[in-house]
C-alpha cells in the first residue's frame, strides 16, 4: 500500500545539493508531496524533510538511494508515532461578502490561526498544524472562496532522545 511517509535527511549546505536530491526523486519516479529545506544549528548543514507517497519497499529504496549520495550526511524515515509534524499555510480568502468574512474569522479562530492582513475584499490568514489539519482547513474554506494559498510543506522533529 502506498502511504504518505516522511523522510528527513541532513545534507551539505552547498550549491547543487537540492538539484541532486530532486533529480534523484525525478529519475527514480518517486512522488514527492512536499519538500522543505533550511539550514540547521550548524550552518554548514541543511535539513530536508520530504513527504512522499510510497509502499514500504519503495520507501526503503528512497532511504537507501538518499543514503548513497555523497552530499547526504544522514537520512531517516520518521516514525509518525514518534514525530511531531507541522506545516504552515498562508491563505487568502475572498471576503467581499460580510457572511464570508465572519465565517473566515470563525474558522481561523477554531484552527488557532492568525489573521495577517485584512483588505476590504480579502483576508490573509496563517494556519500552522499537522498536514491533515491543513487539508481539513482548506476543504472548509473552499465554499467560502479561496483566492490563493501557499503551503510550506511538512517539517518534522522526532520526540525525546531520538534525533537524525
Amino acid at each position: 500500500m502506498r502511504q504518505l511517509n516522511t523522510v528527513a535527511f541532513l545534507v551539505e549546505n552547498k550549491p547543487g545539493v537540492l538539484f541532486n536530491v530532486s533529480n534523484l526523486f525525478r529519475r527514480r519516479g518517486y512522488n514527492i508531496e512536499s519538500i522543505s529545506v533550511g539550514p540547521i544549528e550548524r550552518s554548514d548543514l541543511s535539513r530536508m524533510t520530504v513527504s512522499v507517497k510510497a509502499d514500504s519497499r519503495e520507501l526503503n529504496q528512497i532511504v537507501e538511494q538518499l543514503a548513497k549520495m555523497v552530499d547526504v550526511v544522514s537520512v531517516k524515515r520518521l516514525d509518525p508515532m514518534r514525530t511531531t509534524m507541522r506545516e504552515m499555510l498562508l491563505i487568502k480568502v475572498n471576503t467581499a461578502d460580510p457572511m464570508a468574512r465572519e465565517e473566515t474569522l470563525g474558522h481561523v479562530n477554531a484552527y488557532h490561526g492568525l489573521i495577517l492582513h485584512i483588505d476590504p475584499d480579502s483576508i490573509i490568514a496563517e494556519i500552522t498544524g499537522e498536514p491533515s489539519a491543513i487539508d481539513e482547513f482548506i476543504d472548509l474554506m473552499r465554499p467560502v472562496g479561496i483566492e490563493e494559498l501557499s503551503r510550506t510543506g511538512v517539517t518534522a522533529l522526532e520526540k525525546g532522545r531520538l534525533k537524525l
Partner: protein, 562 residues
Amino acid sequence: MVEMSGAKAFVKALELEGADTVFGVTGGAVLPICDELYGSGTRFVMARHEQGAAHMADGFARASGRAGVCLATSGPGATNLVTGIATANIDSVPLVAFTGQVPRGMIGTDAFQEVDIIGISASATKYNIQVRRPSEIPHAVKSAFYISSTGRHGAVLVDIPKDTQIEAEDVNFPERVSYRGYSPNPVPDPREMDWAATLLSKTRRPVIIAGGGVVAANASLELVRLAELLTAPVTTTLMGKGVIPSDHLLFAGLCGMHGTGEANMLVSESDILLVVGARMSDRTTARLEEFSPGAKVIHIDIDRSEIDKNVETVTRVVGDAKLALGGILDRLNKIRLDRQTNGAWLRKLEEFRRQYTPPEQPGNPHMAAPKVMKALRRALSRDTLVTTEVGQNQMWAALYFDVYAPRTFFSSGGLGTMGWGFPAAIGAKAARPDLAVVDIAGDGSFGMTENNLATCVEEGLPVVVVILNNRMLGMVAQWQRLFYGRRYMAVDLGKSPDFVKLAEAYGAVGSRPGDVEEFERAVGEAVKSEVATVIDVSIDPEENVFPMVPPGKGLREILVEA
C-alpha cells in the same frame, strides 16, 4: 603551500594519483591543461571523438583495476563524453572524467561552447564537482579518484573553468580527502555472515549468481571455493563472466534472457540462491514475477540500495564480496555439511544442458557464429583480453566464447553501448601492452566507433577486431524476425564500407577469411601483428542467437530454435 596555475596543479595532482595515461580530445577550454601536459610524463592518447576517449578510459580501468582517465573540452566535447560516462557508471567502473568549462564569469550566459555538464552528467555519475578556484583543483582530483574507486565503483566528473586553469594561487596537495556523507565501509557485519552461512548449510539445491562485484572485489578465488564446498552450480551475469573458469565442472554459463538453458533452469529450481555483486537487472531475472519462485535469496553487495531493489531477499550481507565470501567460507568450514544429496543436483546440470543445447543448422554455407567463437578461443591464449560490442556478437561471445580468468572479458552490460568494444579494447591494450587484446564486434557496432582505428595505428596499440558481419543490425533484426513477423525496419547495413579496405585506409591490416580454418589462422597472425588488424567474418544474416527467453517471459520459457 606553493603558488602555481590551476593547470599545473591539475597535472601534478594527476601524477600524484599515479595516472600515467589520459585519453582525450583537446579543445579551446582545456588549452591551458594541454599546455601543461606538453612535455610532461603523462601519456596523452588522442581519440578522434570524445565518446571513444571515454570508452578507452573505461577499458583501461576494467583491464587494470585502476581508475581510467579521460579529458574533453567544454560544450560538445563534454556532451560527447556522456555516453562513455554513463556506460562506465552503470557497470560500476572507476572512471574519472575531466571537462573544460567556459571562464567563470561567462558561466550561465550561454557562452560559446558552454554546456551545463554538471547538470547533464548528474544522473550518469556517482559524483561530480565543478571547481571554482585553482586551489580547489588538487582536492577535486583526489576526490574524483577516491570516490570513483571506493565503495561501489563508478564515474566521477570534474568540470574546470578555463580561467581557473590559468589563474595562479597558493595550492596544497592533500594526502587524503573525506566526505561526511561518504564512508564506504567494506567490512561486512558478522551477524549477517552468520545468518547467510546458516542458511547455506541447509541447502539442497544451491545456485550462485555471480556478477561484476566479484570481479571488482577480486573475489573469484573465494567464490569458486564456496561453490566447491557447497557443490553449488555457478551462473554469472554478463559482468561476472570469468569469475569462474568456463571449463569448471560447476560452471553453468550465463543466466538471463540469453542465458544457457541449464543456468536458467537451475536458477528456477533452486532452493537457495546466493547472489554476489549483481544488480539483478531485467536481463538477468527475465519476468520478475516468475523468477526463482521456490528460492530463498541471499544477496551480497557493497551497495545496500541494490538489496531488495528488484528481487526480494531473505537475508543480506552488505560489504566487500571478498570479505563476505571469505567470512561465509570460514563459518561453513566449521559446520558439518550434508553433501550426499548434492550429487543429484549436479546431475540436473548435465540433464538440463542436454535438454537445452540449441541444435546445429546443417547445410548452411555460412560460418556459424558459435563455431567462430570456438575457433577464436582455440586461436587465442588463455590470458588474452577480450571485449565485445553490443547485440548478437555480444551474446554469442557471452554464450560460446569460453573465459578462464576474471578481468579478461569485458562488455558493456548495463547500458549496452554499441561501439564500446573497439575503443575499450584500445584502452585495455594501453593498460596491458603485454597481452593480446581482441574486440568481438558486429558490423553495426564497429561502424559506430571505427574512427578509433586512427588512434590505434597512431599510438601503436595493435588490437584485433573480429567483425561478425551479417550486414544487419542483427539483434534488432532477430527481434523483428521472431516477434514482428519479419517486418525488417531500419536494420539493413548492406551499404557498409568494405571493412578490409577501411582498415587498410587507416594503415591497419584487413583480412577476410573464407572458412573457420582460415579464420583461426588469421587470428593467430593478427595477435602477433605490430599493427591493428580487422578480420571481417561473413556470417548468415538469418542466424539467431539461441537460447533466448523472449521479452516479458519467465526464465523457464527458453527458446532454442526459431
